[in-house]
């Protein structure tokens, strides 16, 4: 169904060295500015909180980006992995008093197990069947979490301690947003590096090939099912790490992790500027959260805005808003 002609967002193959350097410079400059912003405006709690939430949501969006942009599927169950990360912290820290490193391992392990399970079930289904199964998995997980006392049921788990790292006599306690920021930003950078490496890797190429032309990919020896499973297993921990950070940032985890809002946010962030853009999800999340934080229309009004943004982008600019800019500038 899809082919490379429909995907002008496929990046950089024909970039000139000058353009390539310019892109790298812009990416680096954007990230430096983003890193400085909370310190420059540390008096404003709203701006610090906006920056930190943007980074955390962007990290989670990259998990969705991998499946949507590279594999060409729509995973509506990504909240499951986010919840694996958040509940890994909730259970590990509040029930067993585990350290952040230990809860990080739990989060990643939990996401891998769930990813393998969901990946196995969806091995032979594609497109809407894949999306619906992942969607159902999310809704059912919500029902299970909502009714399990051990996971805090409808109340969730309160009292998650601040993120704290210690090495011998040295310790760092991220007990407020500004102190959490360097950790969140470092993980965002690692996520970006991981995405860039993935897209240059064999698995990344195989995922793209199996998305754009499955028949050709198979004839060239790509095992479509294995590729799908691998991408799923790579994507799940990324979103889970975002969920892990989110739990420490809020000091709380609850069934609201399964709200449809999150999947709408992640999908919109991936699509708005165009797929397979390294900073696309980061800018997408930044734009959406900017509207919510500074130009809020209320809960229901924000839903209308986010839904409209997604629908209009796909109907009018299916390759993302950046394609319009490229058309104007002739690039």
């Amino acid at each position: 169904m899809s082919n490379s002609a429909n995907n002008p967002a496929l990046p950089l193959a024909g970039e000139t060295p000058a353009n390539f350097r310019r892109v790298h410079f812009l990416v680096a400059a954007t990230l430096v500015l983003f890193f400085i912003a909370p310190y420059a405006m540390s008096d404003s709690r709203v701006i610090v909180s906006y920056c930190i939430l943007t980074a955390i949501m962007a990290i989670m969006s990259y998990g969705v980006d991998m499946i949507t942009s590279d594999l060409g599927e729509v995973s509506l169950g990504q909240a499951l992995f986010m919840a694996a990360g958040s509940y890994g912290v909730g259970v590990g820290a509040t029930r067993f008093g585990l350290s952040p490193i230990a809860t990080l391992f739990i989060a990643i392990f939990g996401a891998l197990v769930l990813g393998a399970l969901l990946g196995f079930i969806t091995l032979r289904v594609r497109e809407f069947m894949f999306s619906l199964v992942t969607y159902c998995a999310g809704v059912v997980a919500h029902e299970v979490v909502y009714n399990m006392d051990y996971l805090g049921a409808s109340e969730g788990l309160l009292g998650i301690p601040a993120l704290e790292f210690s090495l011998g006599p040295w310790s760092y306690v991220a007990d407020n947003n500004i102190r959490l920021w360097p950790i969140v930003f470092a993980i965002l950078l690692l996520t970006l590096a991981f995405m860039a490496l993935f897209r240059r890797s064999v698995v990344g190429s195989e995922a793209l090939m199996s998305h754009l032309n499955p028949a050709l990919a198979e004839s060239l020896g790509v095992d479509l099912r294995k590729t799908r499973l691998k991408v799923f297993l790579l994507s799940a921990p990324i979103t889970a790490i975002g969920g892990w950070l989110y739990a420490y940032q809020r000091n709380y985890v609850g069934p609201d992790a399964f709200e449809p809002y999150f999947i709408m946010l992640f999908l919109s962030a991936v699509i708005i500027f165009g797929k397979r853009l390294l900073l696309g999800p980061l800018f997408g999340v930044a734009l959406i959260l900017f509207q919510e934080k500074f130009l809020s229309l209320g809960g229901d009004g924000n839903k209308v805005f986010l839904g409209t943004l997604l629908v209009v982008t796909l109907l009018v600019l299916p390759n993302g808003t950046l394609s319009l800019f490229k058309k104007w500038t002739g690039r």
């Binding site: 079930i121 289904v125 809407f128 999306s131 619906l132 969607y135 998995a137 009004g301 209308v304």
Partner: protein, 288 residues
């Protein structure tokens, strides 16, 4: 435990299941005939219920006229959705269609929240007051209406598909759209009719089922799941299959809730679906 208790459980399950089947009929046709999906289906159910409630509360409409107007509103809305997605439908770009309908679902949820408010509401159907009983087994007029309308709609759709020229044209469209076009069938018109039917059927289902419980603008997600389970287990595009699957699902949920746990009934249904999908990735009839 008394025999009448089991009969009551079965009856409750059958009513609920036929209600599910009624919600699912529009999707069955959309998927079977047009090979398309609509993730806003559950939200359309919510909207159908709220339009019915609003007309009765704010404009003093009767119960039946309210349902009829809700059917009309949802039919028009669904045709608008279809017209918006013409390009994606023509290219069968299912990924975009899924995300667009998901976005539309989110817009409708937000808009309904703004317009109808966040308070739970009740549809004051006069059929709820009618009571029938045989020994210790009881049923309301609302339950009876769900059973009768669901069976009538399924019979009508089945006969329409098999016996009418439009039904034959729809089957041709599902079989080979391009060939059907060469034969003189207008796919655009047929698609509009299919979308309109989806809207009418889901509004009708909402008007009949929603009076059984309070309605909220956030509802609709469970309906999507149950519809999906029915469509897959019943066999994609199969009208009798969807009816049987809906009935079976309702009875299963009724007994599971009574004897195991009502909180985990949906999880149990989904597990069943997963088993089906692992064994038969395209459902019992395959096809898509």
């Amino acid at each position: 435990m008394q025999f009448s208790y089991f009969v009551q459980l079965f009856l409750n399950g059958a009513v609920t299941g036929l209600g599910y089947a009624l919600v699912a009929i529009g999707w069955t046709i959309l998927l079977g005939m047009a090979r398309l999906v609509n993730f806003a289906h559950g939200t359309m159910y919510m909207l159908g219920a709220f339009v019915t409630w609003y007309l009765m509360q704010a404009h003093g409409f009767g119960y039946l006229p309210s349902i009829l107007v809700a059917c009309l509103v949802l039919a028009v809305l669904n045709i608008v959705v279809q017209r918006l997605m013409v390009r994606q439908i023509q290219s069968q770009n299912l990924t975009s269609i899924m995300i667009i309908t998901l976005g539309i679902s989110y817009i409708l949820t937000g808009a309904a929240g703004l317009f109808f408010g966040g308070t739970p509401q009740n549809i004051a159907s006069p059929l709820r007051l009618l009571r029938f009983s045989a020994g210790e087994v009881r049923m309301t007029g609302q339950d009876l209406a769900i059973v009768l309308v669901a069976l009538a709609v399924y019979a009508a759709v089945y006969l329409f598909q098999r016996k009418s020229r439009i039904g034959a044209a729809m089957r041709a469209l599902a079989e080979d759209g391009k060939l059907a076009q060469l034969y003189g069938i207008n796919p655009s018109l047929l698609l509009a009719a299919i979308f309109a039917f989806e809207g009418v059927s889901v509004a009708l289902a909402a008007g009949l089922i929603a009076p059984r419980a309070p309605i909220l603008t956030t509802m609709g997600f469970q309906e999507v799941i149950l519809t999906f389970v029915i469509v897959v287990i019943g066999g994609i595009g199969s009208v009798p299959g969807a009816l049987v699957a809906g009935l079976a699902l309702g009875v299963f949920i009724s007994f599971f809730s009574a004897f195991v746990s009502s909180a985990f009934a949906l999880a149990a249904v989904f597990t069943t679906l997963l088993v089906v999908l692992v064994a038969r990735p395209n459902g019992f009839r395959g096809g898509v």
